[in-house]
Point group: C2
């Protein structure tokens, strides 16, 4: 079933209610009083119809969602968390297809229709996490689409053999090459980026680099990444994840880097962490730099928090950006919808040809949806109802 | 009905399941296999039984909960918000007994059994907000207890006549004298505090002062308040709300002020705002300073955010404090339970004589309850079941 008529929908940005017709999984028409033909009809009664949420930065392979409560016990800093992740994983049965499936289901009932998930590739477990994520996605049966990032969480220079495994993952269809703190963790930024962009070139893949390094060190690596994206003609295919540094440097530097990101077609992904200054969303928006929001890890060895809900993530992003006006809060919601789609090179919206991916929320405005975060009335993936009232269909 | 036997409860801090018997609204006994006698029985099946949540800092009189969505439109800064609140109130029908009732109901189903709410007293509306809150509380019919703070939101020196209205409110049974930024807003800190503490002395009331002023200016006012609490023998009856300054000064100053707070019996209330450094909860706890958490305003002319849920507030407090370990997350939950109770001079817990105020959550540990925030299975006020599965009983 990939045809669906959504009746009496309140579209983001429209003043009056309308119908929206999905044919063969994509938007076919909008307007009042559309004939349904043989398409099933869902009456929305004026509820808000938002583009399906896109989680632009997830780590579903690490999750313990649906499993036992495991108190956080990692050592301090990035290195402590990396070590703890690798060491504690086997005894907890991670990666677990069951936990990943449970989290993906939770994401679906929360309105997420597409996810970009980083998946650990390391010498201790090879491609086991990639396989586990793929098996879980299979269990979800097209209720959500995903793109996978071959992510060298434990380092690719500091952990020899990882690049070869990433190469293997990409050859087997993984979509994107990951990277992590070329300077701060890998201590050899040029060679790290050479490997990452080399793999991208070899496989025609995109790039998504975790960049926690702050201030001038982080911004210098922005420049290195931007330079390579331009030189290699990778506009629209390179993402910097986290990228805290942009929020930490002087306004003039920030302004210059934002212009460079826009010129190179490099996007950002943020998880709106409580402990870092928020990215300058308004300025990025004005410059046309795509920004996607993501839930990051959800209840894993890295953090006990998270629930896979992009509407909650939009709230965090709005609050941490000190947004209070509706038009500001909508910028945060954009990161959870249109922005994430742009990061992934996907369309999103109400125009014919846009994917039939939608979420229905009992709210009168997008800002109210973010503030109240009601149970999702309906989630539609490629024209198919996949969740209703917070439960999987 | 004020007798109740809670069977197979998981108590915070206990390893095994137990029963808890409430007689005449207060805890009578705990232990396995307690005889119910003629008390109704609720089987908890191992769910977590937490002390009822205490919202130590609310502004229920301002809420538009259950009303239309009103986009935020206040001018910048504290003065802009104060002016907007006073000017926009009448056209929106504020204060509204219906909205206040709706919010109090939301608080009850979220597990809050006691609330300290500031209530605006100003020359534009006199005691109308006090009367509205009291009428709403009456509608709730003892499902929640409340203490009211006569709050000079618009200033009491800068807005002559306010002190007289506060005097009137206190004579009519309002519990606590409020104050606000004696320096930053009122510009006459000594006289402001003289009026506030004068009213407290006259009525035998407690004191709760909003202190947004930061850094050295804020800490200087901590000292003024502490000095008066000590001189007037008001240990246990004085609270500083927000008090951002404590998080902003040098460690040695912070340490000295915390010791002074402890010695004077002055408590703190925090709403864990996204835009301010979090109070040093661990150090305050070690020194024995009571810290209560509160939701602050919920969907009002000051902020579009909030939902009255203290478990969510505990999450915000934990995340903004960068807590990740279970024992850290429990410090945040303490502020939403025991800490708030101490701020209000109330008992809380599982010991005979403690109030029969409890909330039941489907979680295996207190930290999991904070991270997952499940729908509240049961809320018990003075031994009476007042909410079940997120709905008012």
């Amino acid at each position: 079933m990939t045809d669906l008529l959504l009746r009496d929908a309140r579209l983001w940005g429209a003043d009056t209610l309308t119908d929206l017709l999905i044919r063969d999984g994509v938007v076919a028409a909008t307007g009042p009083g559309l004939p349904a033909g043989d398409a099933p009809v869902e009456g929305l009664g004026g509820k808000l119809l938002l583009p399906g949420f896109v989680d632009a930065h997830a780590h579903v392979d690490k999750t313990m969602w649906g499993g036992p409560w495991v108190p956080h016990n990692a050592g301090p800093g990035l290195a402590g968390k990396i070590r703890n992740g690798v060491e504690s994983r086997p005894a907890l049965g991670l990666p677990s297809v069951d936990y990943i499936t449970a989290l993906l289901q939770q994401m679906v009932v929360s309105g997420t229709t597409h996810v970009r998930t980083h998946v650990d590739v390391d010498t201790a477990m090879g491609l086991a996490a990639v396989e586990a994520v793929r098996e879980a996605l299979g269990r979800l049966g097209d209720r959500i689409t995903a793109e996978l990032v071959a992510f060298p969480q434990a380092g690719l220079l500091t952990s020899p053999g990882t690049a070869e495994l990433m190469d293997e993952a990409l050859a087997a269809g993984v979509d994107i090459v990951g990277g992590i703190d070329p300077a701060g963790l890998e201590n050899d930024p040029i060679r790290h980026l050479d490997v990452v962009f080399g793999l991208a070139g070899k496989h025609g893949a995109g790039v998504d680099i975790h960049l926690h390094d702050g201030g001038p060190l982080g911004v210098w690596q922005y420049d290195l990444i931007i330079e390579r994206a331009k030189a290699l003609g990778l506009a629209g295919k390179v993402t910097i994840s986290h990228g805290y540094a942009l929020a930490e440097v002087a306004p003039a530097v920030q302004e210059r880097v934002i212009a460079d990101l826009a010129a190179a077609g490099v996007s950002l992904a943020t998880v709106a962490p409580a402990g870092a200054a928020p990215l300058p969303l308004a300025a990025l928006r004005e410059a046309g730099v795509p920004v996607g929001a993501g839930n990051d890890g959800v209840r894993d060895l890295w953090s006990p928090y998270g629930n896979g809900d992009m509407l909650e993530r939009a709230l965090f992003l709005a609050q941490r950006s000190r947004f209070v006006r509706d038009e500001e809060i909508e910028i945060a919601l954009e990161a959870a919808t249109y922005g994430g789609a742009r990061v992934s090179g996907r369309r999103a919206g109400y125009v014919p040809g846009d994917p039939g991916d939608f979420v229905v929320v009992d709210a009168r405005t997008p800002a109210e949806a973010v503030c109240v975060r009601p149970v999702r009335s309906l989630v539609v993936k490629s024209g198919r109802v996949v969740a209703r009232d917070g439960r999987l269909v």
